[in-house]
Symmetry: C2
Subunit: 296 residues, 2 copies
């Protein structure tokens, strides 16, 4: 697959994801709730998680409708976590993807409700009529998503993050935090895509390893970009983690070693794909490149 073919696939996939999000996040939810939900999830973001779902589905020649629903569901979970994370009692951030954050735009109460409703909507999207997605697959997708979003995954990582502000974490604890906070949902994206298709035990384990490696690489690169890029490029406040006295890969390892770590995780991800036995994993390989080489 050439770079141009991959870019064309990404554009097409992102168009479909955007269309599905727009169709499934209701504009008519009561009392402005739908408006706040749509503001929180539409027209923004890199959509890395949906791309991982769809690429893993293609790699395992999977059920396309199920994968599109999984892609939308995982993005809803990601987006809700940002809405809540930006609120004054958490990170108190006013800028996200270059726009005022949801609570700035709609008030704190509506932002909290919108986040809550986005999480529920993720599970609504995963459980359509059985004529669209087999019920057994619905259950497997819901189980993967719930575990990656909950106390042992994303929410647990956020709790560690909360407790860690102002503390000097060693690398092991920093890694544990990020494996949960961002890694779990990225890994689940890959596995949800694979659940839509045919992955034997070897391929499943390899995709799990791939997901874990890029999940962590994503955060290491995020920490690097936080100190090397301007706010305009990031679409959010740069230098924020340092200002907030939060431990990051850069603060713990230094910039040079953080870059080495990102490269090593990138190599791990590619090695896992090679070991998977899957012959159609090139999009996943190119997404791993994209995670590490991105500039925002």
């Amino acid at each position: 697959m050439t770079d141009a073919e991959f870019d064309a696939w990404c554009r097409q996939a992102l168009d479909e994801v955007e269309g599905a999000l727009s169709a499934w996040v209701p504009a008519d939810a009561p009392a402005g709730l739908g408006e706040a939900m749509r503001y929180g999830v539409l027209d923004g973001g890199k959509r890395l998680r949906p791309l991982l779902v769809l690429a893993a589905c293609d790699a395992t020649r999977g059920h396309r409708e199920a994968a599109m629903r999984a892609a939308v569901a995982v993005e809803l979970i990601h987006a809700y976590s940002l809405v809540h994370d930006d609120m004054p009692c958490m990170d108190n951030d006013v800028l996200r993807r270059g726009k005022p954050t949801v609570h700035v735009q709609f008030g704190e109460a509506q932002a909290m409700l919108a986040g809550d409703a986005m999480q529920a909507l993720a599970f609504e999207v995963l459980t359509p009529d059985e004529s669209l997605v087999p019920l057994a697959l619905q259950a497997r997708l819901a189980g993967l998503l719930a575990r990656s979003a909950g106390h042992s995954g994303m929410a647990g990582g956020q709790a560690i993050d909360l407790a860690a502000t102002g503390q000097a974490l060693d690398e092991q604890r920093l890694q544990d935090m990020h494996r949960r906070k961002t890694g779990a949902l990225l890994q689940a994206s890959v596995l949800m895509g694979a659940a839509c298709g045919q992955a034997d035990a070897r391929a499943w384990q390899a995709l799990s390893d791939y997901g874990a490696a890029i999940g962590l690489a994503f955060q290491v690169v995020d920490d690097i970009l936080d100190v090397t890029q301007a706010s305009e490029t990031l679409g959010k406040t740069a230098g924020k983690d340092l200002d907030a006295n939060k431990p990051t890969y850069v603060s713990v390892l230094g910039l040079a070693r953080a870059r080495e770590r990102a490269a090593a995780l990138h190599a791990q991800a590619q090695a896992a794909l090679s070991a998977s036995g899957l012959t159609a994993a090139h999009k996943l390989a190119m997404l791993a490149d994209k995670v590490v080489d991105r500039e925002s």
Copy 2:
């Protein structure tokens, strides 16, 4: 079934629900998150929703493990909504079930995360290994729960509530708000229990009608108790809705007509059970009595 038999069944069921909640809400979730989650859901509450699930499961001679998981899941959704609802940006309440609210005890950020993780946990509990609950049933339960919790159910109702403070709602809009805010989850409790068992189309419709009637009755009675009972009996601040200038059934209908409405809904619920064709629905009938006759 005598009152004593019903009471014994309730006690037994509540013991099992409490045991399951204690087993499945993790004490060891990171950085105090598990502690906050357990504080928010254990040792308190009437557990009406779990009782409805289990009674509907018994009425349809259903899958007991699935029903216990549904009972715990629906209570987790209810409890998370209270945790978020009590926060300063919403109702700003400091007392719940006679104890300091979660955000008073653990801080706002942890309370928000605990609520978020409780919602995810509800879907984790519904999606165990397929040896425990058939995958198709898992999917149906997750779908029912998600829809009752989300934008068209509970979260939507809360958004209407938020927008309605200080406004004079007519009865129709008040009813729409409550059908979503509390009614949807109560109705889903009944239907999730029925999904665990054998309910033909007639029984399903009847149980849906029963759930809708007691769902609304519950709120009418809540509004009545808010003005007729002391805080100590309620375990929460009495007169709160009036003080907050929120529309209630009492403020819209007056106390006498609100009581008539509760009685009419009670009769509707019992009529629905009679029409269901189910021969084992006596616990549901007695739960309807309990909803209307309660003092807290």
